[in-house]
Structure formats: structure tokens, C-alpha cells
Amino acid sequence: MSNEEKQQIDETSVTPWNLAIYYRRIFPSHIYCKWLAYGEPASSLQFAQREFSFTLENDVYRRYLSFSNHMEFEKELIKMSPEKIDIGAVYSAKPKDHKMLSTTQFYPIERELVFDIDMTDYDDVRFCCRGADICSTCWTLMRFAMQIIDRVLHEDFGFEHRLWIYSGRRGVHCWVCDQTARELQSSTRQTIVEYITILATGKESSKRVTLYSPLHPSLQRAREIILTEFDGYACLKQDFLGDDQRIERFIRLVPDDSRQTLREIFSQLTTSAERWAAFKQHTDAMINSVTSTTKFRKAAYTTLIDEIMFEYCYPRLDANVTKGMNHLLKSPFSIHPKTGRVSIPIHLDSLGYFDPCKEGSVPKLNELCQQVEQLPKQNQQNDDGFNEKISTKQKDYNQTSLKPFIDIFARFVQQSQTSKQNETLAKSDLNTMLSGEI
């Protein structure tokens, strides 16, 4: 093993020892449980019928865990010290009893509306890295996705309580926690996914975005968000027209009758910026030309520039995660087993700035453990996890680099509880209609 590899393992190391410290002294259990109780009492069914899933050592995967109350949750969490925590739906009965129940007795009744955006879905439009790797350049795509989807959820669908989470590795999640969102049926979740999705499923090499003029207001807004950075991102950072291979990838998105012309134009230019400018000029010329092109031909060019920008930058969703109510999703404040990074909340105001590739932007398990171990001894009176006082624990994580993220989370949880009353009113008119489905 090379030194470099060794060092990397040290940095990311997720050991049972570290995990035990993390869950005992750092993990914000009480806020976390308050979140999932949504204003109900600590021992409510809302919490007790929630599915959790723990990944233990050696990839032992335990689904359908559930806990009667917060105390039990915390106790088991410390005892099992999972490498990864996933959250599922709230079921009609306690998930731990699911084996004794039939499908008419055990079914999901509530689930946050969740979104999962993963960088690997963008592999055909990023040239900086592939697969699980990310860098500040391609992270721009995640920033586009977060800003675009967040505004859709808020402005179009009216959802107030949106929790954005960095997954710990190469993507982001969004948890929409409004009561109306949690009660949506699977078919409505699919409707929302389809509203957001513009990339047709199919081969990566073919053109997958088709737009109509004028753009729908939601897409106009997305376009504005992309435009703020497109030139800097695509031309400079990605250099998306920088070599023949990239040019050919681009050319496939263009109507047949312009491909040869564009190849010739591009060959006389050197930078991506010049080529992009020349392409836009060519497209405008095609739209305005009165002679050669027929009306139908022209239509192919009116939305072409936008289509290409969207092809390269518009959010790509894992639809199945959003559609299925019983789909599991990695929990906030879970550790990423491969990177040792904590899944942290991203403040709504910084969706456009957050960058996990910037040094020190995401707390790592071993750093956090070092930080609490350096604390003065008196904070650790009772080593027995059972008798540990919450106040001690609060003090502990307040002195780690996780504090700002726990603050974001705590504020989010508080806000999502206070508006509970208003929501109950708003939803009463819906109750009758939303209950039926084929």
C-alpha cells in the first residue's frame, strides 16, 4: 500500500470506534427525532411507524427497523452504530412487525417528497471527471439543479419546508416536509417528476431535449438560472467544444443540415467560447434566413440554443426515488461509508454557492471525533451512554465543526413545526378529493 493510499484511508476512515463516538456525542438525535415526529408527541405513531434501515459492518443491511420513541431510537443507534442510516416511509403499522402483517395491513401512509440527484447521471456532459468523482467544475451542475428545483418546489408547487442535503459523496437530496407533500400519492409524485423532467429517456448520444416556444414559465426561470453561469461553466471550465470528440458530441444535437457547416466553422476557431458564439450566430442566421429553409426547418432552430444549454445543464432526477413512497433514502447526518463525510444540510440561501470540493466545507467523521476528544474531561462524566445527559451532548457538538450545520437543521425543524396548524386548515378542503385513486 502506498503512503498516499494509506493517508487517504486515515482521512476517510470509518471505524466502529469513531462511529460509536459520533453517535454518542455528536449526532443530534433529539432534533432529528423532533423532525420526524412533526409536532406529534415523542412516542407518537408518526415516529414509531417510521421505517429506518441501518447498514452495519460488512455490508449487513437491516431494513424495517422501527423504534417506539426517541429514547429507544437513541439507545439502539448507539448500540448498533450503523455505517449508514436510511429513512423510509411512515407505515400503517410498526415496520418491525411487518412480517406478521399482510399487504392490506402494512402499507406506506406517509413519506416526505424526496429528490435524489446524482452526478453519475451527468457523465455524458461533463469532461472533468467520471463516475463517483466530483470536482468544483462539475459541481456547478448540482448548484444548477438545486436552484432550479428548489424554485419549482417553492414557486410552482407552493412547498415551504424544503431540506437540501449534501449526500456525502457525489450528489444532493431534497426532503420536502410540508404535510401536504408528505401525504401525496405516488401518482402525484410522478406527476411532479414529469413536470420537472425535460430529458427524454433514451440513448445518451441522441438529442434528448425538445422545447417549444415560448418556453413554459418554469423553464424560462430555469433558463435564467443556467444563463447566469453558462458561458463561464461550459466554455471555460468544461471547455465543452475543446476537442474533436466534444465537438462531435455537440454536433449530434444539431439538425442534419447544419452539421457540416458547423464542423467547418469550428475548425477555423480555437476556443470553446469562440465556437459557442459562432454556433449561436449560425443559428440566428438560420432562423432569420428567408430563402433556403422551409418553415418546418426553421422551427428546428428557434429553440435550439436553449435545448442545447438544457441538454448540458438542466437537472437530471432519479425518478424512482421520488415516485415510490417506500423508497429508502440516506438520512441527513448519516456518514458516507466511503468518504467519511457527514451528510449535511445546505442552507437555502447558499444553494448557489455551496461547494463540497472546497477544503473544509464538509465535516469528516474522524475530524469530528478528534475535536470532541480534545474537549476538557468534565464534559464526559458518564461514559455509560444510557445515562448521558442531552445537555452534555449539546455542548459536545457545539464545539465541533458540525455546529453550523446542526444550527441550519434545528432552524428548519423548528419552522416545519410552527406552521403545522396553518397546514391543517389548508388541507381540510383537499381531504375528500385526494383520498381516492384507481
Binding site: 414557486e155 410552482d156 408547487f157 407552493g158 412547498f159 401536504t180 401525496l184 401518482s187 402525484t188 410522478q190 406527476t191 411532479i192 414529469e194 413536470y195 427524454a200 429517456t201 433514451g202 440513448k203 441522441s206 434528448r208 417549444y212 416556444s213 415560448p214 418556453l215 413554459h216 414559465p217 418554469s218 423553464l219 424560462q220 418553415k295 422551427a299 425518478a319 424512482n320 415516485k323 378542503d429 383537499l430 375528500t432 378529493m433 385526494l434 383520498s435 381516492g436 385513486e437 384507481i438
Partner: protein, 522 residues
């Protein structure tokens, strides 16, 4: 035979008590010159006394209407929701032609101008609807069928209305529909002008001056986004803060969704009360049973949908490879190929394919052999995992486990409407779910379809005529022209193919006339 008069009293709705005696109808806002009034069907007819004879004939007439609509749409391979304007006229004409001289009490439903809608007509309309609702509420498949076709009937009737009549429908104080929308004020309309105008979906060429002109005279409705899912999905309405802004041209989406949710919700409730009603009156139960039979009988034998009893060949799993090339529709052929290549299929693919195999007559034992052969022998699954995860499910599909229900193979409608395949999933309808480029390439490269036929298929696919596309594939594969069966079930495709290839073909004339025969039967 003499029927005693029976009281048609279904006291299932406890909250609303509306008497549907003829006298009560006068309280509804019926304009007697407005011949095309559509009831909301949101209150049960209670304390209505009709003869058993009328009960039966009303039910049969309505079933005839629904089945005719189903058949006309199947024959044209479309639904009213996707049919373009010119086709809608054709559909209307066909429905009327088929039902001419075949209706008595419910004539006004299809021929609104024939007679003004009298209160007795409306009563018959409502009662017949509720009888069928009762007849088709026990199983999910029956509910789905009933709701789908009632929706199409509703759409037919709503489209016949003038704009003013449509607004009257929305404005009727006797319905709860008013709680679910608000009219958009002129002020708000002005405020959102740009957004509203750019939400009108016009594919292809746009004439902005036409849009601007019509905008001023358009009425907008504000509804919860959940209530217009088909508009939201296509991004063809403007959304703000959870509300959709729907123009009077699109309002049918909202009205239909309201209608659909109302009846599907109520039917789920009535299915739970069904057993209770069963005990109430055996004569009614007999009629309901007869109605369920008529629905299936009609569709299965004369419309050439899938008929389980049509199977004559004994099929073993080693025959599947060659059968799949010669007689499977593309959806199943593709699933088979993936199964052979990957030695695995994901959940939805397994469901779709397994039930199809059951439908073509592959026995439980052979089906088990086939899955074990692919998953375990050729694939990488260990035998215990197979036992644990798959044996039960396969037996279940054959009705040998669980509730011992025998599951019916999926119809085209179900396959088309179910969730589309995502990455590494291979179920679904190729014409509906593959993108055009992929479909084209595979047809030419993998399935040896010539370019002309491929283009024909692609054309139909683009116009959303997936089942016609499938039929063209069938005709090419079997070297027949204008075979005219109207594919609506993968197993029907298979059965037709076997008939052609093994020589037990039925007379073509019978097939083409099946519609007429069928309707006169019920």
C-alpha cells in the same frame, strides 16, 4: 316472467341524503331546453322505487353504451383524451352509428337533441350509473374498466356541450365541484398575463398574435395542481404556489379528474359494503352477476381480446425461444430476449412477462423451470435465494399462494399506462416507452423490419397510436394486410398469431363484423 317491484335503496352514503324522486329533480337547476345536462353522480339515489324489470333494462342499456365506446375507441386505437379534433368527430359519429336504434330509456345520453333531458331521463341516467357502479365495484379490474369507460362517456358528453353549458356545469350549486376551483379575477389574469400566455402549449409553429387575441376572451380557473395531473405532467398550464391556472379550453381535465376521484373514491368505499348488499336481495345480486358476465363475454369472444380458453397448443419452456420470434408481440419478445441475455428481470418486467406466459398456456411447472433455468442455471443466482425470493411469487401469479386469486395477464391499456421502465428495466410497451430513435434502430437492426414499415410504425407511434403500431408489426411479421384485429392485449396478439401460423384461422369477415354483432348481443 313477472318481477315484483323492488326498492332500490342503497343506504351506503351516510352523509348526504338526497332523494332522487322525480319531484326532487325540479330542485336541480335543469333548464328544460338545455338537453345535454350531465349529472354529477355524487349522491346515491335513495328511496327511489323502480321495478326490477326497469332496473335490469337500464343497466343493460348503460353497459351497451360503455361497451360501444370501449369498442369504438379500441377499433380506432385511441382514447378521447389523446384524439385530435378531427378524430373526435369521427369517434362521435361512430358511437352514434353503433348505438342508433339500440337505446330506449338512455337515448338522450348519446343523442342529446333527440329529446330534451326530462327529469325522468336524468333519474334513469343516475340510476343506471349506480347499478353498474355496484356491479363493477368488487374487484379492482372491474372498477378500472368501469371508471375508464364512464370517464370516456363523460368526456363525450362534456365535449358536446357549448362553452356556456360547460360553465353552467361548473357553476352548479348542487355539486361539490364548486369547492375545488376559483375563477381567476381580471386583475390576477392581467398580473400573470405573460406567464399564462406562455403556458399555452402549441407544438410546432406559433402565432403569437392569435394567442394574444384569444387570451382576452379566455376564462381562467384556479385549481389545486393535484386536480389537473395531465396538464401539469405535460407542463401545459401555469403553476403558482400549488395552484394551476387552467383555461376554459382545458377545463375538461379538471372536470374529469373531479369526476374520476369522486367515483373511484366512492367505489372503493362501496366495494367494502358490497357483501352487505349481496345479502340484501338475491335477485339484485343475480342481475349484477349477469352484468359482470356480459361485460366479459362481449369483450372476450367477439372483440378478439385475450381469451384464456382459446389456447390449444401445449407449450413447454424450451419452445419459448422460437415462439418469441414468431408469435410474441414486441413488448414480450423484448422481455424474453432480456431474460435470456441478462438471466434476470426486474420486478415489473417479471410481473408483465410471467402473466403473459401463464396466458399463453405455459404451465406452472414449466414456468418455474424456465425461471430457474435462467436465474440459477444460466444466471448467477444461488438456488436458495431463488427458492426464497421467486418460487413463492411464481406460484402466487398462478394463484397457488396467498389469496389464491388467479391474476389476469396485463392488457395493452394497463401496460401503456403503468409506470414506464427506468434504467435496467425492460417492461412496458415499446411503442409507448422507447424513444423514437431507439425504436427505429431496433426495428431495423434487431427485428429486420424494412424501412418502409418501420417508418409506418414510427408515424403511428408519434401520433400516440401505440396499438396500431403494434398491429402494423403484427401484419408485417405474419405477411398479412389489413388484418383488422385491433390489438388490445399481448395474449390476443399471441393467439391470433398461432391461429394464423397453425392454420386454425377464423373467418375474416366475422372479425370485421364483430363490433356490430357484439353490440346487438348485450
Amino acid at each position: 316472467m313477472e318481477y315484483r317491484t323492488t326498492r332500490f335503496s342503497l343506504n351506503s352514503s351516510s352523509t348526504k341524503k338526497t332523494n332522487l324522486n322525480s319531484s326532487n329533480f325540479s330542485s336541480l337547476s335543469i333548464n328544460s331546453t338545455n338537453s345535454s345536462y350531465i349529472p354529477y353522480y355524487d349522491t346515491y339515489p335513495e328511496n327511489t322505487t323502480i321495478s326490477l324489470e326497469l332496473f335490469q333494462s337500464l343497466a343493460i342499456e348503460r353497459l351497451r353504451i360503455l361497451k360501444t365506446i370501449e369498442q369504438v375507441l379500441a377499433r380506432l386505437n385511441t382514447t378521447l383524451s389523446v384524439a385530435p379534433m378531427n378524430k373526435k368527430d369521427e369517434i362521435e359519429k361512430l358511437i352514434r352509428k353503433e348505438l342508433k336504434d339500440k337505446l330506449n330509456q338512455l337515448k338522450f345520453i348519446i343523442f342529446p337533441s333527440f329529446t330534451g333531458a326530462l327529469s325522468i331521463d336524468l333519474q334513469n341516467d343516475i340510476i343506471s350509473h349506480y347499478i353498474l357502479r355496484l356491479a363493477f365495484c368488487p374487484t379492482e379490474e372491474e372498477r378500472r374498466w368501469f371508471i375508464t369507460n364512464e370517464l370516456e362517456l363523460f368526456r363525450y358528453r362534456f365535449q358536446v356541450l357549448t362553452k356556456t353549458e360547460q360553465l353552467n356545469y361548473l357553476n352548479d350549486s348542487s355539486s361539490n365541484i364548486k369547492q375545488f376551483y376559483e375563477l381567476v379575477s381580471d386583475e390576477e389574469k392581467k398580473h400573470y398575463k405573460e406567464s399564462l400566455m406562455s403556458s399555452i402549449i402549441i407544438k410546432g409553429l406559433t402565432n403569437s398574435s392569435t394567442i394574444a387575441k384569444s387570451f382576452d376572451s379566455t376564462t381562467y380557473f384556479r385549481v389545486r395542481f393535484q386536480h389537473v395531473p395531465d396538464l401539469v405532467r405535460k407542463r401545459s398550464c401555469f403553476l403558482a404556489h400549488g395552484y394551476a391556472y387552467v383555461s376554459d379550453n382545458d377545463i375538461i381535465s379538471f372536470v374529469l379528474q373531479h369526476f374520476r376521484m369522486n367515483i373511484s373514491y366512492q367505489m372503493t368505499c362501496s366495494s367494502k359494503k358490497y357483501e352487505f348488499i349481496q345479502e340484501m336481495d338475491t335477485r339484485i345480486e343475480l342481475i349484477l352477476k349477469m352484468l359482470r358476465k356480459k361485460r366479459i363475454h362481449g369483450t372476450h369472444t367477439t372483440m378478439h381480446t385475450f381469451n384464456e380458453n382459446e389456447q390449444t397448443e401445449t407449450i413447454t419452456f424450451d419452445m419459448l425461444n422460437s415462439l418469441s420470434k414468431r408469435s410474441f408481440p414486441l413488448c414480450m419478445r423484448y422481455l424474453h430476449e432480456q431474460m435470456i441475455q441478462q438471466h434476470h428481470l426486474k420486478h415489473l418486467g417479471r410481473l408483465q412477462y410471467r402473466l403473459f406466459l401463464k396466458g399463453i398456456g405455459l404451465s406452472l411447472g414449466e414456468c418455474m423451470k424456465f425461471f430457474r433455468h435462467e436465474f440459477v442455471t444460466n444466471g448467477s443466482m444461488n438456488p436458495t435465494q431463488f427458492e426464497r425470493e421467486h418460487v413463492y411469487n411464481i406460484r402466487h401469479a398462478y394463484g397457488q399462494e396467498g389469496k389464491h386469486t388467479s391474476y389476469t395477464p396485463y392488457s395493452c391499456m394497463k401496460i401503456i399506462q403503468d409506470p414506464p421502465p427506468s434504467i435496467n428495466e425492460y417492461h412496458g410497451c415499446p411503442y409507448r416507452h422507447w424513444d423514437i430513435q431507439t425504436l427505429k434502430q431496433r426495428l431495423i437492426n434487431n427485428y429486420d423490419i424494412n424501412e418502409e414499415t418501420t417508418n409506418e410504425i414510427i408515424d403511428k407511434t408519434k401520433q400516440h397510436h401505440y396499438q396500431i403500431a403494434c398491429q402494423i408489426f403484427f401484419e408485417y411479421q405474419h405477411k398479412v394486410k389489413n388484418y383488422g384485429i385491433g390489438i388490445n392485449h399481448p395474449n390476443q396478439y399471441f393467439n391470433e398469431s398461432r391461429k394464423l401460423l397453425t392454420g386454425t384461422t377464423t373467418n375474416q369477415n366475422t372479425m370485421n363484423n364483430s363490433m356490430t354483432q357484439n353490440t346487438s348481443q348485450i
